[in-house]
């Protein structure tokens, strides 16, 4: 146990942090899973089932939804939304306001497509999970998000 060794000190601090952090995460009430779960990809779009869904969709499937007039939700910050978003998409600034906006348009068992910036951002999943908690049952996460949609030149709009 040579505590004067710098690298040994690094190991000690790291070990201490790992033990304390995992223990804290174990006992705290708002702990998070050690590894986050990934959503499954939707094979085909079933609009008339009553079963709850929470799946990811591809660009083509998102376009299909768009053509069926499905409501799109933009999970990004307002500044990005204003710069450009999928035509007709609702912005998510205040969650309660968003819930109100959705429910004034459609019931909770109607499909919703959620997206954010690009395939790596987690905001769309977070919003989808929050919507699931709020009782919405048909949620599709469009992983490609604004990046793929805008690259494909699909209908979009911006707020000046």
């Amino acid at each position: 146990m040579n505590f004067k060794n710098h690298i040994f000190q690094v190991y000690i601090i790291l070990s201490l942090s790992i033990v304390i952090s995992l223990a804290t995460n174990l006992i705290r009430t708002d702990s998070i899973p050690l590894l986050s779960k990934t959503l499954e990809q939707a094979d085909n779009i079933e609009l008339d089932t009553d079963e709850p869904v929470l799946l990811t969709i591809s660009l083509e499937q998102a376009k299909e939804f768009y053509e069926k007039n499905t409501l799109f939700l933009d999970a990004r910050d307002e500044a990005y939304y204003n710069k450009g978003h999928i035509k007709g998409a609702l912005k998510n600034i205040f969650f309660m306001e968003l819930l109100f906006n959705i429910e004034s348009r459609q019931s909770k068992n109607k499909p919703l497509v959620v997206y954010c910036g690009d395939p790596g951002c987690g905001d769309s999943e977070d919003l989808a999970f929050n919507l699931q908690d709020a009782g919405f049952t048909k949620l599709y996460v469009f992983k490609g998000g604004w990046l793929e949609w805008s690259a494909a030149n699909y209908p979009s709009e911006s707020i000046k």
Binding site: I13, L16, S21, G120
Partner: protein, 151 residues
């Protein structure tokens, strides 16, 4: 050599600044690991799935590094970790900027309504911390240090 000046109050002040910064940075993240995990995910560096693990552990590393720098415990190890973390932060921010993804920094606060965006300033700030760490690591005396006692 510039290192000749790394003694006395300069070293202690550098240590206290670094320590305070790291403890402060850890506080909000320890309280909100879920939010922090989301921000890490937005950086697109880690394979999807393990950002939670990093969001749980990293804030505590920051916390202990900060506390030890202030208390004068295992200063050398803590300083090496400061350097490692800042190099990783600078890399993460640079690649995000280079790829043009505009994201929240998640440096100090993960819950602020406005969010703090990343930018050149963030990188310069981290380089500043690297310099403080350089001063501490190459210090000529070991005042106000309690463990391990040396010299």
């Amino acid at each position: 050599m510039i290192k000749e000046y790394f003694k006395g109050p300069i070293v202690i002040i550098s240590r206290f600044i670094l320590g305070a910064v790291f403890v402060y940075a850890s506080y909000d993240k320890i309280l909100n690991p879920g939010e922090f995990a989301r921000i890490i995910g937005n950086y697109h560096i880690l394979p999807f799935g393990i950002e939670n693990l990093l969001a749980i552990i990293l804030p505590w590393v920051e916390f202990f590094v900060g506390i030890f720098l202030i208390l004068g415990v295992m200063i050398d190890g803590a300083t090496i970790l400061v350097v490692l973390m800042n190099v990783v932060f600078i890399f993460a921010i640079t690649q995000a900027l280079a790829r043009g993804i505009s994201i929240e920094c998640g440096c100090f606060s993960v819950t602020s309504e406005t969010g703090s965006a990343i930018g050149i300033k963030t990188i310069l700030r981290d380089i500043g911390y690297l310099f403080l760490a350089y001063i501490v690591y190459y210090r000529k005396d070991r005042k106000v240090e309690y463990f391990p006692k040396s010299i």
